[in-house]
């Protein structure tokens, strides 16, 4: 049997040890539902054209060139070979610059994962790297030219092999601290926290990708069918946000505490009692409906 084809072949180097490796795409992206863009007036498909912003004339591909705007309307032109020249020559080597503790890895830098496997010759060194990193709880940082781009790669043990993840550059990742800076400091303690922990406990499970299915396309098909048949399209209501004053009650009812009181008698007299309780009861029914299909689908 012929093995899978490598996307890249090269070497891993740590200290003075070099071992030949092959790199394979570990994850691909599936397609999303494709819509065509139409001209509303004619119902015809539209097609994209590239034109000169001043003259309006179409611009052929060979006349399209990269320009960097330096100041108001002034551009520096960079030809493709000039951009390519900025990328260093590939030495086909993932040279490990440093090891970092796995606990310090900031996952938001992750770009794409690749499987790394040894080429026949390098098995001993490969096993040493894999098992040593695992024992020490570290991952390796290396830099190399991959697919004509200079990339920083994080290498870590995974099963019998290694995974190399390309990392986003520093300027490509927004700081989470800054992103959440505007939020007030709020620490939840006491009964609220305990109730929420209890709810989490009742919903304990695991993630199984194989049982998850994208329902979007089917839902759009349903929408299209309704439209063709002239049926009224569903209108979706925004859910009611829990009011801060109702939060504790909502948590109690979610945790199954205090819900009993509201359940038994649904007499007319009961309906008018306390707006808060009514409110909580309604979303409860909605939640069950919403959850049922989700559970079935995984």
């Amino acid at each position: 049997m012929v093995g899978p084809r490598a996307n890249w072949k090269g070497y891993i180097k740590f200290g003075e040890v070099t071992c030949p490796v092959a790199l394979y795409t570990a994850a691909s992206s599936s397609e999303r539902i494709a819509f065509n863009t139409l001209n509303r007036k004619t119902g015809n498909r539209v097609k994209r054209e590239f034109i000169d912003s001043e003259t309006g004339d179409p611009v052929e591909r060979e006349d399209q060139v990269k320009g960097y705007e330096v100041e108001n309307g002034q551009y520096v032109v960079l030809e493709a070979d000039e951009v390519a020249a900025a990328i260093p020559e590939s030495d086909k080597t993932l040279a490990i610059d440093a090891f970092i503790p796995c606990s310090q890895i900031d996952t938001t830098y992750f770009d794409k994962p690749y499987y790394l496997a040894p080429d026949k010759m390098g098995r001993d060194a490969f096993l040493l790297l894999r098992d040593g990193m695992r024992k020490q709880g570290v991952a390796a940082i290396a830099r190399t030219v991959l697919f004509r781009r200079m990339r920083t790669v994080l290498i870590r043990a995974h099963g019998k092999g290694l995974i190399a993840s390309t990392l986003n550059f520093d300027y490509e990742v927004r700081s989470s601290e800054k992103a959440f800076d505007d939020m007030p400091d709020m620490k939840i303690e006491g009964e609220m926290l305990e109730l929420a922990e209890h709810i989490i406990g009742t919903k304990k499970g695991s993630f199984d990708a194989s049982t998850f299915h994208d329902r979007y396309e089917a839902a759009v098909a349903e929408l299209v069918k309704a439209k063709i048949e002239g049926r009224a399209l569903p209108k979706k209501k925004a859910p009611d946000a829990s009011k801060p004053s109702d939060l504790l009650q909502a948590l109690r009812e979610s945790a199954g505490i205090g819900a009993k009181e509201t359940k038994p008698k649904r007499t007319a007299a009961n309906v008018n009692r306390g707006a808060a309780r009514q409110k909580a009861a309604k979303p409860a029914a909605k939640a069950k409906q919403a959850q049922a299909p989700a559970r079935r689908a995984g």
């Binding site: 200290g15 570990a26 994850a27 992206s29 599936s30 819509f35 863009t37 139409l38 001209n39 119902g43 015809n44 498909r45 054209e49 590239f50 034109i51 000169d52 399209q64 990269k66 551009y75 520096v76 900025a86 090891f99 970092i100 310090q104 996952t107 992750f110 499987y115 001993d124 790297l129 040593g132 020490q136 200079m150 920083t152 099963g159 986003n168 520093d170 300027y171 927004r174 959440f180 939020m183 709020m186 939840i188 926290l193 929420a196 709810i199 989490i200 304990k204 993630f207 998850f212 929408l223 439209k227 399209l233 859910p239 946000a241 829990s242 801060p244 979610s254 945790a255 959850q291 559970r295």
Partner: protein, 268 residues
Amino acid sequence: MALRPYWKGYLKLSLVTCPVQMMPATSESEKVRFHTLNRQTQNRVVSHYVDSVTGREVREEDEVKGYQRGENEYVILEDEELENVALESTKTIDISTFAPRDSIEWIWLDTPYYLSPNDPVGQEAFSVIRDAMESQDMVGISRLVISRRERAVMLEPRGKGIVLWTLRYGDEVRDEDTYFEAIGDEKADSEMMPLFEQLIKKQTKDWSPKMVADPVQERLLEIIAAKKKALKPQKAKGKTAPSSPPSNVVNIMDALRKSVAAEKRATK
């Protein structure tokens, strides 16, 4: 946050619901960005849409999504209609399951977003969900429609907020056995291990964003800076050209007067 949220909706845990907003954790804004120019004229190249049959330009407000039914048959779908697609997960992240934080392998992580409350009213509810996940060392699993696909998503507390990861679909991650099977079950040579562990210890550093600096971007900026210098004389020409249009006599007189006035001020 001055940035416009990428998505707005609701975070829901059982009967607790709070309004939230989301933005991508990654950004292209700091990247050296190129525009496409027409080499002949040096003008910007822009794209527009033309009708595939009439060849006429289609204005943006006339562009609409079409769902293909037959070979040349489309059903028009307006954005508002699509918003009403019968899935709760377009607007609500309903956390159905919680799993131990380390039970989800990194290989499933696809794209990260930052999730935060969208209204002070939801601050406390948001914090309850976040802090309970944190104290239990759990992550939430839910579904969310993002750019026309329903994704499995993972919610992970981080600082004051929550990082929401889209998770890859089952058939997107390739079976590792295909690639790793040939490695076999052998372990590393135990004699070499102590030495290698020493090397690891010596070379272990703390994580720093400097490790993901981009030398190529820096080089490109240098090239651009050098070319910009060469551009300077041209720039002067460019600037004066529009300010002296093929003018009539009155304009010239005006210009002369101004020039004289400026000279006088200068000599005073």
